[in-house]
Amino acid sequence: MSATVLLIAAAVEGVLLAVLLSLLLVERTLDRARTRREPAVFAARAALVGAVHDQAPDLPALAALRALRAPEALRLLIELADTVSGRARVRLLDLAEQAGLPAKARRLCASRSWARRLRGIRALSRLHAHDDHVIAVLLGDRVGAVVAAAADGVDQGSDSKLFKRLVGLLDDKRPQCRFAAKAALAAAGGAATPTLVAYLQSTDCPCPADALEAATGGVDLRLLPVALCRTGDPDPLVRARATALLGALGSMSAADRLQALLTDPNCDVRAAAARGLGRLGEWAPARQVARLLEDPHWEVRRAAALALNAMGAPGRLYLREAAAGQEGAAAQAARYVLVLPANAIDTLLV
């Protein structure tokens, strides 16, 4: 029996070792092949850069691109697309179209394999080869990762119907889709504003907090009425996000409402209101903001101190007064801001 066990153990281990060694050999061979192909990739990169930036003729760049394998060419184009903008990006996309690469990516998007669909939509997004139809189809995909990647592909130039689809994803049961939709709406900025306004005004609005957070990404005064309205929401998270949006909009017509929110029962709302007033730079409510230096929550005290500093001389007067006063929360918060360098205050106030 012992000999049999010995034989079986040795055989299994031997086979496994042989398989693993072969795999390592394959990996080494592939690595060498990759190294051998590097000059061709370098040449293609140089030709593409020349064609994109120096307006060199298309043919050498296309020839160099076609000399590469499709995944290599796609990787190279994506790498370059990340580093160019404006006309250079348009030209790069034109070259990619001539080489037939976005078409290949679109074909991948129609694949039955989710991994291929994912690769395809990511390649299209990164090449900025927008195809609203493809995105619209993939936003309804059964795989969350594909939906999220499709949402990433929506940008300022996309059709307004896609923004409606994104807003619809804000209450999707898959968290990655919710996050991708929120991030894409925030990145789209003003282009998504009408959709977000309509959503926030509607009675069927299950995720106002997420919509308000996304709206903060694009500062657009068309959001002012809904932001003002939502600061009265019973949900503290919605009120805090609406207050933050109000502060980000920077409209003087929001100042009165922000001032009223300084006494909100929720600390996040008070902090957001103080930050908003600081961003406005309006010194009139400095006295009310200075009262928040005594707030029981550090975040509120910090926001108040930063806001006072941003209000200029009147605000700093309150800060110095608090710093020189009795040792306590207000003095600490005031000193915290007074020792900070100016560039840090700008960063922290946002």
Partner: protein, 463 residues
Amino acid sequence: MARSILVVNWLFLGYSVLAVGTQLVLLVSAALSLHREARLTAGEHLRRLLRSPVSPTISILAPAYNEAATITQSVRALLTLHYTGLQVVVVNDGSSDRTLDVLCEQFDLVPAIPPGGMAVPTAPVRAVLRSRAAPGLLVVDKENGGKADALNAGLNVATGDLVCAMDADTLIEPDALLRVVRPFLGDPDVVAAGGTIRVVNSSSVHQGRVREPRVPTRALPGIQVVEYLRAFHLGRLGWNRLGGNLIISGAFGLFRRDDTLACGGYLLDTVGEDMELVVRLRRIGLEHHRRSRVVFVPDPVAWTQVPESVAVLARQRDRWQRGLADVVSRHRALIGNPRYRAVGLVLMPYFTLIELFGPLVEALGLLAIVLGLVLNVVDPAFATALLLVGYGWAVPVSMAAVVIDQLAYRRYHRGRAWLLLWAVMENVGYRQLALVWRLRGMVRYAGGKRVEWGAMTRRGFDS
């Protein structure tokens, strides 16, 4: 006597088969996870996340104790990590060298007020300092209280939604945070996530970044490269599909700040504080039906120095074993308890039987084989079979980790032969030494030496 030896031999065989079986399951699970991970991340655009105003904020907690040699490079590397609105909190844990002076000189520190109350009690904080040169940097100077206490002090002043716990001498790759944050975006049940830790010894490092990873040609660090690959690519990755992880390396892990604060932060009276926190987070999450998932993400990478001397390595392994014993002892109520699902039914039994008591069974088994052969009560073929199962299996397992790493990440363009050599050599001498160190750890734990750390020596990185 002869009967006892035979019983121990069969026990050793049973244990070896159980261990081999578990490793085989982990190997398959890891391969499947890596395949899925590779497909999910192919062509991913991390910069979208970098630019997004809705990404969660992160505070890095870097405890430093006598790290004057490496602290400047480490902090500079942290400040230039790719992540929007990153806060770096360095906690000087009562260093007796020039750690704080170096930080003051290099980063122009000025006194600041701690942003927030002291939610978790710590050793007295002497000062909180903010940098004029780097607005995102906060330095906490406190009296010595150990790594866990330093991390708690960092937790108290951190403001990020997530906190990244690390060692001050860990080198995190620039895009590692963008990668390790992904589970938190895709799953609200995730409470912690960790990335891969790699061995930096012998690699070329410049300005706190690893320029060219190299396999050490010296045995001790070389074998540890293979050990780390096996632990992360097979162990932690494999557990992702089998109930999640119980360990997030103290060198690089990301946690939800509010959950970590709510459970009281790191425990001070243990040397396994990283594992203990993860087990506690999962335990509390499962008890209160809150988030409790702990995920390992293979592609974010942090580099760490491993001990190059036998004495330091012995102390480290002794400490790890005491830490494991302490965690198992504290949370023994979880073992076999269906209320804690996979944690109670799979993970805790595995860590108790295989990881904690494994060294004991292995030592007894080896002793029994030798005695059995000397007393001629054990068939030599049976003894060889035992060793083949118990030791021989370790070689393909280690090689599988090397192959998985090379196929998926291709980090080492040279030195594959060294990796293979270390995968074999690990079983000749090193594994037996490690067995002794781990047994010593158990004996010391049983003897009451539960929170003794032992000195670790560090070298600068640049080569």
